[in-house]
C-alpha cells in the first residue's frame, strides 16, 4: 500500500516549514485552514477476499460518492459530481452483468442501493465515442457513508487498530470518496477529500507502507500558462525525509473554477411535470478561458421517479423558451411511461447545453429551465411522497488547445459521467453549487394515491362497474323481453324468429 496525504491551502496561505515537526514517522504542525485529500493505493494481493470477488470479471470499476453538503472547492480539487453514489463499470463479459453479485456486494458495503443486476439496473454509456469512458453507469441518491464506515471498520481495519478506526470515522465528514480499480494497473485507488476547514496537520505513517505528505497551496508563478494550475508548498515522505522539501509545479488541469455560482429550485407548482430552474450568477468566464470556444452545460443524474423527454427537448422554439440550446445526451433506455415502482433501472443521466445571455459589460445573472416529468410513485399514507433529486453539475465546457496533456496532473480525476461525453481535450470550468440551505439534495413533493383513503377502492369500483353493467344488461333484457333478438318489424311478434315466445310455446 502507498499513501499520499495532501493539505491544500488557499492562494497565498503558505505555511512556514519551521512550524512543522517531523519525527519517528510522524509529521505534526499547527491548525491550518485547508482542504485535505487522502489517496491510498492498494496492490491486488492486499485486497480482502470480498473485494476480490467483486473485482473478478471486471475491466474497470469506478465508484464515486459525493456528499450532499455544499462546499467551496479549493484548487486543484475542482471537479464536481451530483451528490450521491455513482458507479461506472466496464465488465469483461456480458454474463457478468447478468449476475446479482456486484449489486449484492455493493449493497453490503454501501448500504441499500436498489440495484438488482448491472444488466437490469445500470444504464449504458456511449463507450464507442471516446475510448476513455466506461460502458455502464449506476446512480443512487445515497445520503451518507455511515454504512461504508461501519463496513470498513469491521472488515478492513486490522483488529484493535484504533488509528484505522479513527481515520475511517473521519469519512463521515468527507466531501467525496472515490474507489477506482482497473485491471491493467492491478491496483485499487481509494481517494477521499474533505472540504476546506480548519484542521491540525497531523499524520502518522504506517510502516512498512510509504506515506507521502504534501502541505501545499495554490500558486500563480510568473511562468504559469493560462491553461495551467500552479501549486507550491512542502512535500515529505515520512520516515525517509528528515525535513520537508519545498516544491513548486504547474500542470494542465481538466477541471477549473469558473469563479461563479448557481442554485436550483423547482418552479411552483411542480405538478406531475416539474421544471428545474437553474439560476447562474454570471454569464462570463475568467479571462484564462479567453479565446476558447466555451458553452455552459448542466449534467443531471435523475433517479427513476423523474425523467426528461428527449422528444420534447428536440423542438428549437421550446428549448429557446427555456434558455436551452440542446439536449446533448440522455442515457438509454428511458421508459417514457412506466410507473416508478415497476422499473429496475436506476434512472437516467442527461446532459443539457444551456444558452447564456449575450456577453455584456459586467456579469449578468441568468436562468435556464429544464422541464422534466414524474412517474407514478408507490401509493403512500398521506397522499404525497418525497422524491430526492440531486443538484446537477453545472460547468462551461471549453475546447483546450492541441497537445494539452491532462494525465500529468497529479490530482487528475476522471470517470465522472459527464467527462466521457466530451472529447479528451475538453476543460470543465465548474460553477459552484450554492444552495439556499446547505444541502445539494432537493426533494420533490410528488402526489401519490393516498393509502389511508384506499380501503374502499376495490369494493367501490366493483360496485360501480356491476351497477353500470346491470343497468345496461337490464335495458337489454327489456328490449329482449318485448321484441326478442330479432329484427324490428313494426309490430310485435310477427316474425318467425322470436325465441322468447318460441321457447314458451315449446
Amino acid at each position: 500500500m502507498r499513501e499520499r496525504i495532501t493539505f491544500v491551502q488557499r492562494l497565498g496561505d503558505a505555511l512556514d516549514p519551521s512550524v512543522l515537526q517531523i519525527a519517528g514517522g510522524v509529521i505534526s504542525g499547527p491548525e491550518i485552514a485547508a482542504a485535505r485529500e487522502d489517496r491510498l493505493t492498494f496492490a491486488t494481493d492486499e485486497f480482502p477476499d470480498e473485494l476480490w470477488l467483486l473485482l473478478r470479471g471486471i475491466h474497470q470499476l469506478h465508484i464515486r460518492w459525493a456528499s450532499a453538503d455544499a462546499y467551496e472547492a479549493v484548487s486543484p480539487f475542482l471537479s464536481r459530481l451530483p451528490p450521491g453514489f455513482h458507479a461506472f463499470l466496464t465488465p469483461e463479459s456480458k454474463s457478468y452483468t447478468e449476475s446479482p453479485k456486484l449489486c449484492a456486494i455493493l449493497a453490503d458495503i454501501f448500504g441499500k442501493l436498489d440495484c438488482s443486476t448491472p444488466a437490469e439496473s445500470f444504464t449504458s454509456l456511449p463507450h464507442d465515442r471516446f475510448s476513455h469512458s466506461t460502458s455502464l453507469q449506476y446512480y443512487h441518491p445515497l445520503d451518507d457513508l455511515s454504512h461504508f464506515i461501519r463496513y470498513a471498520k469491521e472488515k478492513l481495519c486490522p483488529p484493535a487498530d484504533a488509528s484505522c478506526v479513527t481515520r475511517v470515522d473521519s469519512l463521515a465528514k468527507a466531501s467525496s470518496l472515490d474507489i477506482s480499480y482497473d485491471e491493467i494497473s492491478h491496483a485499487l485507488k481509494v481517494t477521499a477529500t474533505w472540504p476546506y476547514q480548519r484542521q491540525p496537520v497531523q499524520v502518522t505513517s504506517r510502516p512498512p507502507f510509504r506515506t507521502e505528505v504534501g502541505i501545499l497551496s495554490a500558486d500563480k508563478p510568473q511562468t504559469l500558462e493560462p491553461h495551467e494550475l500552479g501549486i507550491s508548498g512542502l512535500l515529505t515522505v515520512l520516515g525517509q525525509d528528515p525535513e520537508p522539501k519545498p516544491t513548486l509545479f504547474s500542470f494542465a488541469s481538466r477541471h477549473r473554477d469558473a469563479e461563479s455560482a448557481f442554485s436550483v429550485k423547482w418552479m411552483e407548482p411542480t405538478g406531475l411535470h416539474p421544471t428545474l430552474q437553474i439560476r447562474l450568477d454570471s454569464n462570463t468566464l475568467p479571462k484564462e478561458a479567453d479565446g476558447a470556444f466555451c458553452s455552459p452545460h448542466a449534467y443531471l443524474t435523475l433517479p427513476r421517479g423523474v425523467f426528461a423527454d428527449k422528444y420534447q427537448l428536440s423542438d428549437g422554439l421550446f428549448l429557446a423558451s427555456k434558455n436551452l440550446t440542446a439536449l446533448r445526451y440522455t442515457s438509454q433506455p428511458v421508459d417514457l411511461e412506466a410507473p416508478e415502482y415497476a422499473m429496475k433501472r436506476w434512472g437516467s443521466a442527461i446532459l443539457v447545453e444551456l444558452t447564456p445571455p449575450k456577453e455584456t459589460e459586467g456579469k449578468e445573472a441568468w436562468t435556464a429551465e429544464i422541464p422534466l416529468h414524474l412517474r407514478y410513485l408507490s401509493p403512500a399514507e398521506g397522499g404525497y411522497a418525497g422524491l430526492k433529486v440531486p443538484y446537477p453539475v453545472v460547468f462551461w465546457a471549453c475546447a483546450a488547445e492541441e497537445g494539452t496533456k491532462f494525465p500529468n496532473n497529479p490530482f487528475e480525476r476522471a470517470n465522472l459521467g459527464y467527462d466521457g461525453l466530451f472529447g479528451p481535450r475538453t476543460v470543465f470550468w465548474h460553477v459552484e453549487p450554492r444552495p439556499e440551505g446547505n444541502s445539494l439534495m432537493t426533494t420533490l413533493n410528488v402526489p401519490v394515491l393516498d393509502l389511508a383513503k384506499s380501503q374502499h377502492v376495490n369494493v367501490g369500483t366493483a360496485i360501480a362497474v356491476l351497477l353500470g353493467f346491470a343497468w345496461a344488461a337490464w335495458k337489454l333484457f327489456g328490449v329482449f323481453a318485448t321484441s326478442g333478438y330479432g329484427r324490428e318489424e313494426g309490430s310485435k311478434a310477427k316474425t318467425g324468429k322470436k325465441p322468447s315466445e318460441d321457447k314458451k310455446k315449446q
Partner: protein
C-alpha cells in the same frame, strides 16, 4: 313474412326518418339553414374550410409558440415514418404502438424538397394531417350515404345529421392536430356502409384491416355476422341444434369470416415477417401487459394503480376479470339483442360500452362512437325529448368536466386528488355513460309507434 322482409331490407331503420325530419325542420330554422343543407357543396366546403383554418392556425402556433398545437402522437408517427424511410423499423421510435401501415401511409411527411423550399417542406410534413382531415370528410360523406340509402332520409336532412360529425370542432381539432383516430372513423363507417350495401368481400377486407389497425373494431364482427342474413334463422325454430347451426352458417357469413380473417392474418404475417417481434409486442401485446396507468377516464384507473403497486394482493383481482363485463356487453349481449334490429345503433352501443368499460379511456376514444351519432340521433329519444337530450349532454359534459378539474389539480398543481376526487369523478362519468347507454339500448327496442 320472411320474403317481405327480404325485399324491404335493408331498411331496418328506415321508417322513423320522415317523422324526425319533421321534428327537426319544424323548429324555427331559418331559410339559410335549409339552403345550407340543400346541396352538398356548402356543408363539405365549410367542413374543409374549418379544417384548413385549424391546420394553418396549427402551423402558425407551432412556429411561434413553445406550446405546440400538433399532437405528440403526430411526432411519434412521423418519427416512425422517418425510420421507415431509412429502411429501419418504425418500432425504433419509442412509444410507436401502431401498425407499420400507419408509418408507411405517412412516408410523404418525410419527403423534402431539393432545392429546399420551406413552405413545401412544411406542407409535406403536414400531409399526414391533411390525410386525417380528408378521412374525416370521407367519413362524413359515408354517413350521408348511409342515412340516404339505408335510413331512407332525404339528402338535405341526411347532411344536417352528417354535419354533427363534419362540423364538429372536436373531430376537426383531433384530426388536424395529427391524431390518427379520424382514419378509424372512415374505416368503421366504410365497414358499415359496405355491410348495409351487402358488399360482403369489401366488408371483410375492411373488418380485417380495421382490427389489424386498431384492434377494437373486432367488436363489430359479432353484430355484423348476426345481422347478415337475419331472415335465415327464420323457420328454424323447430329444428335441432345441429340444424340451427347449419342454418346459421350462410354463404355471406362464411365469406365475411374468411375474408376478414384472411386479411387480418395476412397483414400480420407480412408485418411480422418485415418487423418481427417488436411488431407483435408494440402493436398487440403492449395493450395486454401495459401498466402505465396514468390517470384517465376509466373507472378502473385508480384500482389499477393500487393493484399494480401491490401485485401480490390476494383474493379476486378486479383487473383480471375487468374484460368480462366489457366484452360480454360489447361483443355478446348488445350484438345479440340489437344488431338485427338496428345495426348502426348496435355498433354505436357496442363502441360506447367498449369505451366506457375499458381499462384505459381517453377523450380520443370518444371519437370512436361519435362517428355513429348522426346515424342514431334521428330516431333517438334524446332528440324527441329535448329535456332528456339536454340532460344527457349536460351530464356527459359536466361529469367529464368534474374529472378534468380533478385531473388538472393533480397534473398541474400537484395535489393528490387520486382519492377520492379522481376516483369518484371517474365512477360518476362512468355511471353517466352507462345511463346514456341504457337509453340508446331502449331506443332500439322502443317500437317506432311510440314516435
Amino acid at each position: 313474412m320472411a320474403k317481405r322482409s327480404t325485399e324491404s331490407r335493408p331498411s331496418a331503420e328506415g321508417r322513423p326518418s320522415e317523422k324526425s325530419t319533421v321534428s327537426i325542420s319544424a323548429s324555427p330554422s331559418s331559410s339559410f339553414l335549409n339552403s345550407f343543407f340543400s346541396t352538398p357543396t356548402p356543408l363539405y366546403l365549410s367542413a374543409a374550410a374549418l379544417r384548413i383554418i385549424l391546420l394553418v392556425y396549427g402551423l402558425w402556433q407551432d412556429a411561434n409558440s413553445p406550446v405546440k398545437y400538433t399532437d405528440i402522437d403526430y411526432l411519434v408517427f412521423t418519427d416512425a415514418a422517418r425510420f421507415v424511410s431509412r429502411g429501419k423499423s418504425p418500432y425504433a421510435r419509442e412509444t410507436y404502438r401502431y401498425t407499420p401501415l400507419l408509418a408507411w401511409l405517412l412516408l410523404p411527411t418525410t419527403w423534402r424538397t431539393n432545392p429546399t423550399s420551406h413552405v413545401l417542406d412544411t406542407a409535406l410534413f403536414s400531409s399526414g394531417k391533411v390525410m386525417f382531415a380528408v378521412a374525416d370528410l370521407v367519413a362524413g360523406w359515408l354517413i350521408e350515404r348511409v342515412l340516404i340509402t339505408h335510413s331512407r332520409m332525404d339528402a338535405a336532412t341526411a347532411r344536417k345529421y352528417a354535419a354533427i360529425w363534419l362540423l364538429n370542432p372536436m373531430v376537426a381539432t383531433i384530426s388536424t392536430r395529427g391524431s390518427s383516430e379520424g382514419l378509424l372513423g372512415v374505416l368503421v363507417m366504410a365497414l358499415l356502409w359496405a355491410v348495409l350495401s351487402r358488399k360482403i368481400t369489401l366488408a371483410g377486407l375492411l373488418l380485417g384491416f380495421g382490427v389489424h389497425f386498431k384492434i377494437y373494431p373486432f367488436i363489430y364482427a359479432p353484430s355484423i355476422v348476426w345481422w347478415l342474413d337475419h331472415h335465415s334463422t327464420a323457420g328454424l325454430a323447430g329444428k335441432s341444434l345441429a340444424g340451427r347451426m347449419r342454418g346459421f352458417v350462410t354463404p355471406a357469413r362464411l365469406r365475411l369470416a374468411v375474408v376478414s380473417l384472411a386479411t387480418f392474418i395476412a397483414l400480420n404475417v407480412v408485418m411480422f415477417y418485415l418487423y418481427g417481434g417488436p411488431f407483435l409486442v408494440h402493436t398487440y401485446f403492449h395493450h395486454v401487459t401495459r401498466i402505465d396507468h396514468r390517470h384517465n377516464f376509466s373507472p378502473y384507473n385508480i384500482q389499477l394503480y393500487l393493484a399494480s403497486a401491490f401485485p401480490t394482493q390476494s383474493g379476486l383481482r378486479i383487473e383480471s376479470v375487468a374484460f368480462l363485463p366489457q366484452l360480454l356487453l360489447s361483443c355478446v349481449l348488445i350484438p345479440l339483442v340489437m344488431a338485427k334490429k338496428d345495426l348502426p345503433t348496435a355498433m354505436l352501443a357496442q363502441t360506447f360500452a367498449f369505451v366506457a368499460f375499458n381499462k384505459v379511456c381517453t377523450s380520443q376514444y370518444f371519437l370512436w362512437y361519435m362517428v355513429f351519432l348522426p346515424l342514431y340521433l334521428p330516431r333517438s329519444s334524446f332528440l324527441r325529448n329535448k329535456t332528456l337530450g339536454m340532460s344527457a349532454l349536460v351530464l356527459w359534459v359536466v361529469s367529464q368536466g368534474l374529472w378534468l378539474q380533478q385531473g388538472y389539480e393533480l397534473e398541474f398543481l400537484g395535489r393528490s386528488t387520486f382519492l377520492p376526487g379522481l376516483w369518484l369523478t371517474s365512477l360518476g362519468f362512468f355511471l353517466v355513460n352507462c345511463w346514456i347507454l341504457g337509453i340508446i339500448i331502449s331506443d332500439v327496442g322502443a317500437p317506432s309507434s311510440k314516435l
